[in-house]
Point group: C2
Chain length 375, copies 2
Amino acid sequence: MAYLDHTATTPLEGEVLEAMLPFLTDAHGNPSSAHSFGRRAKEAMEAARAEVAEAAGAMAARVIFTGGGSEANNLFLKGFAAISKPGRVAVSAIEHPSVSKAAASLPGWALRRIAVDSRGKLDLADLDCVFSEPVSMISVMLANNETGIIQDIAKIAARAKAAGVRMHTDAVQAFGKIPVDFAALGVQAMTLSAHKLGGPKGVGALILDKRLSISPLIDGGGQEFGLRSGTENVAGIVGFGAAARLAAVRMRAEQAALLKLRHRIEEALRASGAVLFSGGPDCLPNTVYFSFPGIDGGTLVVELDRKGHAVASGSACASGATEPSEVLLAMGVQPDIARGAVRVSLGKGCDPESVENFLIALRSVTSGLLAILQD
Amino acid sequence: MAYLDHTATTPLEGEVLEAMLPFLTDAHGNPSSAHSFGRRAKEAMEAARAEVAEAAGAMAARVIFTGGGSEANNLFLKGFAAISKPGRVAVSAIEHPSVSKAAASLPGWALRRIAVDSRGKLDLADLDCVFSEPVSMISVMLANNETGIIQDIAKIAARAKAAGVRMHTDAVQAFGKIPVDFAALGVQAMTLSAHKLGGPKGVGALILDKRLSISPLIDGGGQEFGLRSGTENVAGIVGFGAAARLAAVRMRAEQAALLKLRHRIEEALRASGAVLFSGGPDCLPNTVYFSFPGIDGGTLVVELDRKGHAVASGSACASGATEPSEVLLAMGVQPDIARGAVRVSLGKGCDPESVENFLIALRSVTSGLLAILQD
């Protein structure tokens, strides 16, 4: 089986597992315990916090570990709303559901979706329109999980700052693939997740400006600066730290290699009549998103899986859904074309050979499905 | 180092790690993915759900996996409050902070603490008093994390049912140590945690009656029946399942052995003038909680740690605190005595030899500290 779905989740790096194993065996202490088992766990957790902070351009004391990226997104939106007067929240029209649904859930708050263009880039004219009325917070993702499109977050954050609006960015898909620098982006809060960059599932982080207060989602023992109670997932956090450190070292070379593979796939897709929803210099190096008019995306995924190639239709996080991708609809894609959407996301283990094999399988499957269609 | 702090957290069982390892290596799929990697992850997760359900006397479809016990407690209390009219919530006076603080945080709700007696048992007369006025929900823990006291949850739940009050129980410390049966207890919601019974940190569960609706804490992709979004911690969940299965098999023999060790410690403590806060047939087999008048609990923990014995002062989950235990204060213990509280919690690896070594160290440390005190 060839794994071409690194945006859904990545295999755990061997070195990450190695870093985690002591905390899944002998070093089993609770970081809140005063004895030596506890101190060892606490020290490892704080070292991991420094590693994640370093890789994300933030101070360690600003990193709040959570149970994942979705929790971090909810923590910011609900935690900020809980200590604010109800007002308006604006999010881009292509946010992950953990941002868009959390924003829609805030009691008494009005939600405004900021338009995107046909490539999924935030519409800056619409952003100005949003800022012409009072807004309390906005959230715009750094890189999209379906198309890989990268937003100009620093520019958007500068406009938000000028308008006196707090800004959050979901950097889950960007972190580990492109440089991410919390300080340089100028946002007040940023979400990260470990399992998108070779770390374990079940660990994420919210990076929060020290001048910003929020309310916790989870009350209790007061862990994570009082903002996320519960015994910390020490092994997972240590794995997150190791994954962030490794990604920082390897990112440039790895992503350059993946970009070449992406270009090869894009070229083949264009030649075979596919519609491309991704691409260009402001797209994640690993992501190709496309549709073959007339072919259902879900069917294509199943057929490719039978031939040994794991790819995604729409977003894995919202699977089971038969509705066309909301991201594509926001980009103005017709529902029939959007229903055909398939995402290939490259990562470790992908090489020219695996890509050629995938393209052969894709040609075979699509010509078979199109032949049935024409019967 | 001898580890005598199994209530704070337990070492991961070797067989649990073995069950987890495939999901930390090759079987790295996202359970929401439609391809074979995703299906394998999903199947393993559902098998673990069945294992946890079986061990807890519940149907698998009622098990909602979370990032830990604190999250599950918050999910029930805040999730039920979010879909209800603000009313009164009652919790026992000795709940874990993830229950008591979550209950105190509910906007517009009145919090009533239900009294306990000098052993920490819920005061049933006070419970009747609570039920004499309208109450929307109550939460009473099955076994206390400091004293190990076990409540008569079935009896309390029957009274709650008669009063038309929804009831939750935090079974985090009980699960794996005494039989826990969701159906037999008659509660509408129950919290579990993996790392208290040889499973990994960062995984818990809320078991929820199918007739009860709650609102999620974390919105997003709709995982866990829409009640807990975010990519599931597959390896952690698989570990939780394995730990629950193993605990069910081994509990009776293991806990009988621990009970003998507990009785030996209690006997030695009584002989040396300690005040005991725990004990009796309705106390967890593994827990001893005591104080030496005049000796600070934190100091005793540090000195015992130096001699190679890891024990806890008060609750690890609220460490850093210099205040006397609220549990002991609720039991009517004088603050000076409560400040001396030390908890020994037995588990795997504890045997008669390690207990005798601990008792020797304890005698040496306490006599040294008492000598300083008398100078």
